[in-house]
Symmetry: C2
Subunit: 227 residues, 2 copies
């Protein structure tokens, strides 16, 4: 599975584990401006007792041009409507395509036929590579791409959060025992790793907890709520 250490991928890990899968997780260094998420991924991997957690270093030169890789500022205080309007500057070129491709390679190496990814299209569909039609196209590619697929053992791409709201994801994760204080979603944390409360990721997450009548247990320097 792809494990960033954020709310979505951590919940996905617990869903996969609940279905009885033994977990091999990949986290990627691709030039992102902070490592809070990766630290969270390591915590989660430890807590959940997974089989294997691999950090993969990618050439940052291939992923330039995103607010997440330092090319421009992370947008703040946007409403849901503003978020839905366009592809945000936090889009990273072809990121999920690269991550899924590497997961496909690694799955075949270790003899797995299931890849889990925590993409989510409902609350926020700004990223082209988080949409159901994108996941469907990757599945079709995977069905043609590998020796295992050709030999009748295709690899299934699981995206269990695809059609869930953030509030539903959180509810599901809490049922499965996720400790959300150890997850990190913020695009722009401060130097001590506290979430900014202003970026799209923070605002969607804070809203999801509020809709469940709770406070987000993660550490914030500010908590910006949707109007």
């Amino acid at each position: 599975m792809l494990l960033s250490g954020g709310l979505d991928s951590t919940t996905t890990l617990y869903i996969a584990r609940d279905k009885g899968f033994r977990i091999h997780a990949l986290s990627f260094l691709y030039g992102q401006q902070h490592f809070s998420e990766l630290e969270s991924a390591a915590l989660t991997a430890g807590d959940a007792g997974i089989e294997n957690h691999i950090r993969v270093q990618l050439d940052p030169g291939l992923f330039k041009g995103s607010a997440l890789t330092g090319s421009e500022p992370v947008p703040e205080n946007r409403t849901l409507k503003e978020m839905a309007g366009e592809i945000p500057p936090t889009y990273v070129p072809a990121r999920n395509t690269v991550f899924l491709a590497m997961a496909l390679a690694y799955a075949e190496v270790i003899g797995s036929h299931d890849i889990f990814i925590g993409v989510n299209a409902l609350d926020y569909s700004g990223y082209p590579d988080c949409r159901p039609e994108y996941i469907g196209a990757f599945q079709k590619l995977a069905d043609l791409a590998t020796r295992d697929a050709v030999e009748g053992k295709p690899t299934r791409i699981h995206a269990p959060l695809l059609h869930m709201t953030k509030a539903e994801i959180i509810r599901e994760g809490l049922k499965l025992g996720v400790d959300y204080s150890k997850t990190h979603s913020c695009y722009n944390p401060d130097s001590s790793g506290r979430a900014c409360g202003r970026c799209d990721a923070c605002r969607l997450r804070l809203k999801g907890f509020r809709e469940n009548g709770m406070e987000d247990p993660a550490s914030y320097s500010f908590r910006g709520y949707q109007g």
Copy 2:
């Protein structure tokens, strides 16, 4: 474009250049057992005067289990019929999917909308990720995956060799000025970089030159011809 330094990708480079494209080439280190191909890629990139040649280091752990990454011996002295029978042990898990995914990311970063890949399905269709249906599926994925695609500037995957025989590829390359003495196709070269003449790649290549009434100008320790 993807440039391995072999006969196919080098010819593809010259075809792309002939069509007027300025070339940015990616070569990958993925745990392969020799660097003769990469040295050839560097020579070709220099000769052809391309814009940019990037060597991308990938985590070798993700691509284990192939004869090219040292897991088992490279098969020798196989006939065309034996080659066509099954996916060969030189298959590398999801290799072209990973390479194309990274090219898709890099293309978007540099503002390119054309990716060239030297896959070839006609002479030898043993690799699942060299087939026309595979390239078609990657094109469909690319059309959904990126900001550029969503904004009406899709990236086109060019595979100009897809339906050519090795002999036709060589003929086309010679017309365009490729110096095949500087290309490397062998899966198992000796310590001085000379091709083995026995692996599938050597045998197909030697046959292609012979069908053009020529000797392959590359350096061999042995020349094994198809019966």
